[in-house]
Amino acid sequence: MICHFHNLQELRHSASLANKVFIQRDYSEGTTCKFQTKFPIELESRIERTLFEDTVKTLNNFYAEAEKIGGQSYLEGCLACTTAYLIFLCIETRYEKVLKKIANYIQEQNEKIYAPRGLVITDPIERGMRVIEISIYEDRGSCGSSSGSSSVSGSTAR
């Protein structure tokens, strides 16, 4: 049974965290930032596969754009080197500009697509660019499924 929420605020107030899914990095093309598009089983009942894949593919495209090694990155690198990299105190690097675009995109996706389905995507930069964390929420009242089933509660022994 899919619980429907209208927006992020509603999610925050009336839902409890049930589980978290972590989309891992795809290293098949080297160390460039790319995430696996494999659809996790836990999300099967929550969101359509195509929507999820679209989100991950768009994120991958953003990261590829940020890390592209070409004319612009050479220019930026050489120019910065001549100023002993002090220019970065004034201007933003291309990567930082793309990261802002990514943050806006994720917020927009959360508001439009994921929060209404009880899911929230965490920006990978907050997890060290290692994983895309998707939090699955259950409605405390009507849906009534327990939050104890997750792996979250088992991590107390440290």
Partner: protein, 402 residues
Amino acid sequence: MSAVMITRKVRKWEKLPGKNTFCCDGRVMMARQKGVFYLTLFLIVGTCALFFAFECPYLAVHLSPTIPVFAALLFLFVLAMLLRTSFSDPGVLPRALPEEASFIEMEIEAANGNVPAGQRPPPRIRNVEINNQIVKLKYCYTCKIFRPPRASHCSICDNCVDRFDHHCPWVGNCVGKRNYRYFYLFTLSLSLLTIYIFTFNIVHVVMRSVDNGFLNTLKETPGTVLEVLVCFFTLWSVVGLTGFHTYLISLNQTTNEDIKGSWSGKNRVQNPYSHKNMIKNCCEVLCGPTYPSVLDRRGLMQLSPVSEFSANDTDASPCSSSTDSSNSSKTLPSTKRAILCLHKPRPPPIRNNPTSDDLKASITDTAHTSPAHSQAEESSAAKTPPLATPETDAEASVAKSH
């Protein structure tokens, strides 16, 4: 007894695990041992000061005024590169939060299946194929993550660093993905500066000796002898190091991989990261994108410990980490929040009034400690050591043996 709640906002760097020291409220990040870095700084600044004091006035008049100007520019560039290398985040990978760690553990257990009792479980390795080469990703027991390719755990700084090259005591920091190019430019420009000063010292001594005699010259400019000595010994090491790193860059290898012989060619293992073209490799390493730091050092987080007076330690107050992009919901049940915020285990500090909760005591203690700098030292000093595994021991010997 009434509980006194002390809600305090801290910067995230104060609660970062690892053995780094932070300055300027999280803007500067270095390793703990900085003695050799101060020596480097002293040698560079001292030698250049002597050069400007003794040689430059003579050379500016008798040869050309551009000599001191160029020396000054080179000196400033060297200093800028050194400070940039030393003070920036080398590419530290943050440790896995508890949920991610247990998710990975579950995946490992599922992959291992049932291990018979008494048998050691298989080593935690993930195989990935990169450019038709199988690369093994090792599991880091300290950071609780599978290390990305080319990442390694520095035991001196107690962090996993992306594209880990080596830990350099001369710059007082690790050299990794984010600061490798600054490190290379530092060694390159320092080589040039050393050669420059050495050459003009000789020129100056020769020119002056023609007029005054050799011994008189040395008496007039005693700094020359010192400079020549420093430059002579620096020359061999720094120029050699620059040459070595130029070689590594042309092959797109790290010092760590070179020492371990990862791509030495035995078993037909080739470097999957190399573009097989020296120019392309150099361009990627030196002119590639400037990667951002994934450690949000200056972000704010709230810490509200329960007072020492309350006997019951189970109701740790909720705290939430607030970041700039706080759109993703972080509403969690209170026990999970407590785990997330106070997840650093610490040995009990010795105090007059022992409390039941170590964490409470150390947090209220840090609330009273005035300098934030010593806070970072204290919090990172009072940590349980990472699990000793063959991997971390190997890293230690590699990290120290460059």
